[in-house]
C-alpha cells in the first residue's frame, strides 16, 4: 500500500486494520445521528405537508391567515435585519477602530441576546411597554400599541438578532487592521470616501454573511415573539406562531405546510451561506497574507 504513496508515511493516511475499523465506526455513528436527528425530521415535515396531495398543500398555504403570517414575517425581517446591519456596523467599527472605556463591557453586552432565553427577552419588553409596564400608561394615552402589536414583534426580533452582524464583523475587522483606512485618510479621503471605497469593499462578504445569519434568525424566531405578539390571528402572528396555532388546532397538514416554508427558508439560507463560504473563504480564515517573506 505504501508503495502507491511513497511520499507519505503518516499513520493517519495509512491506517492499520484496527484504526480503519475505528474510523468507519465513527463515521457511521455520525451519519446515523445526522440521519435520525436532522434528515429524517426534515423529511417528515415535507411528507406530512404533502400527505394530502399538492392541492391540499397549496390551499393550506393560501389560507388568508397563513398568507398574512407570511407577510408579517417578511415585514418584521425587513425592518429588523437592516436595523441590525447598521447597528452591527457601527458597533464593530467603534470596537475595532477606537480605544475607549467600557469597550470590553460593550463586547460582552453584544452577546447578551445569545445567552438570555428569548422568552425572557419577550417578557422584558412586556414589562417595559405592556399595559401595566413602565411606559404602558403613557403609550395608551397616546393610543400607541407596542405589545400585542407589530412594533413589539419588531422590537423582540431586533433584540434576539442583534449580535449576529457584529459578531461576524468584529473578528474580521480586527484581523484586517486599520492600515488601509489610515492610508486613505492620509491620501486626503473624507470619512465618507473611506467608508464607501475602502472599508465597505473589504468587509462586504463578512457583512453579508452576518446579515444572512440575522435574517434567518429573525424569520424563525419564536420565543420572544410569542410573548409579545398576543397571537391575534391574521394580525400579529408570524409564520412560526402560525405553525404552532395550526398544530394546536390539530390541523396537521396545514401546520406542516406552513412549517415547510420555514424549512425552505432555512435551506435557502444555508445554501447562500455555504456559497459565500466557498467563494470568499470567510470561515476558513484564509485572510489575505499581508506580511511578505
Amino acid at each position: 500500500m505504501s508503495s502507491h504513496h511513497p511520499v507519505s508515511s503518516s499513520s493517519l493516511l495509512h491506517p492499520s486494520r484496527a484504526q480503519q475499523v475505528g474510523r468507519v465506526t465513527l463515521i457511521l455513528i455520525a451519519l446515523l445521528f445526522l440521519f435520525g436527528f436532522l434528515i429524517l425530521p426534515v423529511a417528515v415535515v415535507f411528507t406530512e405537508a404533502l400527505s394530502q396531495g399538492w392541492k391540499m398543500y397549496r390551499d393550506s398555504i393560501c389560507q388568508a391567515d397563513v398568507l398574512s403570517a407570511l407577510r408579517l414575517t417578511g415585514l418584521v425581517a425587513g425592518i429588523a435585519v437592516p436595523l441590525n446591519l447598521v447597528f452591527g456596523l457601527v458597533a464593530s467599527w467603534a470596537i475595532t477602530r477606537f480605544e475607549f472605556h467600557g469597550k470590553s463591557l460593550l463586547i460582552t453586552l453584544i452577546d447578551i441576546p445569545l445567552s438570555v432565553s428569548p422568552v425572557v427577552a419577550g417578557m422584558m419588553y412586556v414589562e417595559v411597554f405592556g399595559l401595566h409596564g413602565w411606559l404602558g400608561p403613557w403609550l395608551s394615552e397616546h393610543n400607541l400599541h407596542v405589545i400585542f402589536a407589530v412594533p413589539g414583534i419588531v422590537l423582540a426580533t431586533v433584540f434576539v438578532t442583534f449580535p449576529f452582524v457584529a459578531r461576524e464583523l468584529i473578528p474580521f475587522m480586527q484581523a484586517q487592521g486599520s492600515d488601509e483606512e489610515v492610508a486613505a485618510v492620509v491620501l486626503g479621503a473624507s470619512g465618507w470616501n473611506v467608508f464607501w471605497r475602502v472599508t465597505l469593499p473589504n468587509i462586504k462578504w463578512a457583512l453579508l454573511y452576518g446579515t444572512i445569519l440575522a435574517a434567518s434568525r429573525s424569520i424563525g424566531e419564536f420565543g420572544a415573539v410569542s410573548v409579545v405578539s398576543g397571537h391575534i390571528r391574521g394580525k400579529t402572528t408570524t409564520l412560526p406562531l402560525q405553525v404552532e396555532m395550526l398544530y394546536n388546532e390539530y390541523n396537521f397538514t396545514a401546520a406542516f405546510a406552513a412549517a415547510s416554508l420555514l424549512t425552505l427558508a432555512a435551506v435557502v439560507t444555508l445554501g447562500i451561506k455555504k456559497g459565500l463560504e466557498m467563494t470568499t473563504g470567510i470561515r476558513r480564515g484564509n485572510e489575505e497574507e499581508e506580511v511578505d517573506s
Binding site: V182, V186, L187, G188, E288
Partner: protein
Amino acid sequence: MSIQIEHISKQYGSFTALADVSLTIGGGELVALLGPSGSGKTTLLRIIAGLESPDEGSILLHGEESTRHSASRRGIGFVFQHYALFRHMTIFENVAFGLSVQSRLLRPSRLNIRERVRELLHLVQLDSFAEMYPEQLSGGQRQRVALARALAVKPKVLLLDEPFSALDAKVRKELRDWLRRIHDDLHVTTVLVTHDQEEALEVADRVAILNLGKLEQTGTPESIYNNPASPFVYNFLGNVNLFHGRLLAELSFEERAGSTERLIDSAIGFVRPHELELSRNLPADRRAVVASVIRVHAAGPQIRLELSIAGSGRSVAAEMGRKQFEQLALVPGDNVFVWPQYIHLFDDDRAMSLLLDQGAGI
C-alpha cells in the same frame, strides 16, 4: 517644505513615548529617525503626519502651525511598514486613489489622472502591473506601489515608517538605493523611520537618533559615526558591525597603566573592530595585551577575527583587510599582540576620542 518639531511630548498611560523632542528638518532634506523599538521614532512620525496628537509641543510645516490640522489636510505622503495597499483595488486604482478622492473642484480630469498614474508607475518601474491586484505582487513591488500612491498627490512631505523592514535583505538594499535616487530626483522633504543603522547611515542626509523618547544625537551620518555623543549611540551604531556579524570591542582600562587612566576614572571605552591593531611581535614602544585567536571568518573582503585576551579571557573582535591578514597568517590557537589605534571614551556623558600615541595602550 521644512518641518519644525518643537518640544513634542507624548505619554501613553505611564509610558513616555516622547519627552521634549525638538528637531528641524530642512526643505528637500532626507532625515532618518533611528532608534531601537520603543524609542518613540514611529510615534514622532505619526505626530508629524497628524495621525497622533502630541500632549505638548507643536509641529510647523513650512513655518505654518499645523499641530491641529487633520492628517488629510497636511499634504503628506505616508508609506507604511506593511504597505497598506487597498487589497480590492488594482495597482492603477491604488495609485489613482489620492487623486480620485479630491474634491470635484481640485480633482484632475480622468485623462490627467490616467497620465499621472502612468508616469508614477513608470517611476517605480511597474508599468506593466497596472491591472494587477496587490496580492499578485512581491513585497518589494508592493512597497514601490505604496510609494507611487503616496507620491501621486504631490506631497510636500514624504514620511516612511520602516518601509523596508518586512523585506528580505537583498530587496531591502535595492529599494534603499532606489529611494535615495528618487529623492535626489524629486527633492521632496523626506523623513524615514528605521531601526536599521546601516539603512539610516547610508540613505539619509542627516540622522536623528532617538532613545527612550529622547533625541540622543543629530548629525550627518559621517559625524555621528565618527563622533558618537553617548555610549548608547556608540553601542547602537556598533550594531552596524553586528549587522555584518562583527562584535564591538569594549575594553576596560582601569586596571591597566597608561596615559588615559590619569585623565579619567572609571570611564568606558569603545574600539571598533577595525581600529584594533594586531601584530605577532610587540613593537618596542607599544603597550599591548596578548590575545589568542579563537576563530577566523575569512569569507568576504574584510577578515574578521574572534580573539580571547590572555588572562581576563575577555572576547574581542578584530577586523582587517585581506592583505594584512595574509601577512599575519593567523590561525586559531595563535597568540598575537593587540592594541587599539583609537579609543572612544565616555565618562559621565562626556565623550572624547583619543588617538593613542606611542606609549599608550590598553
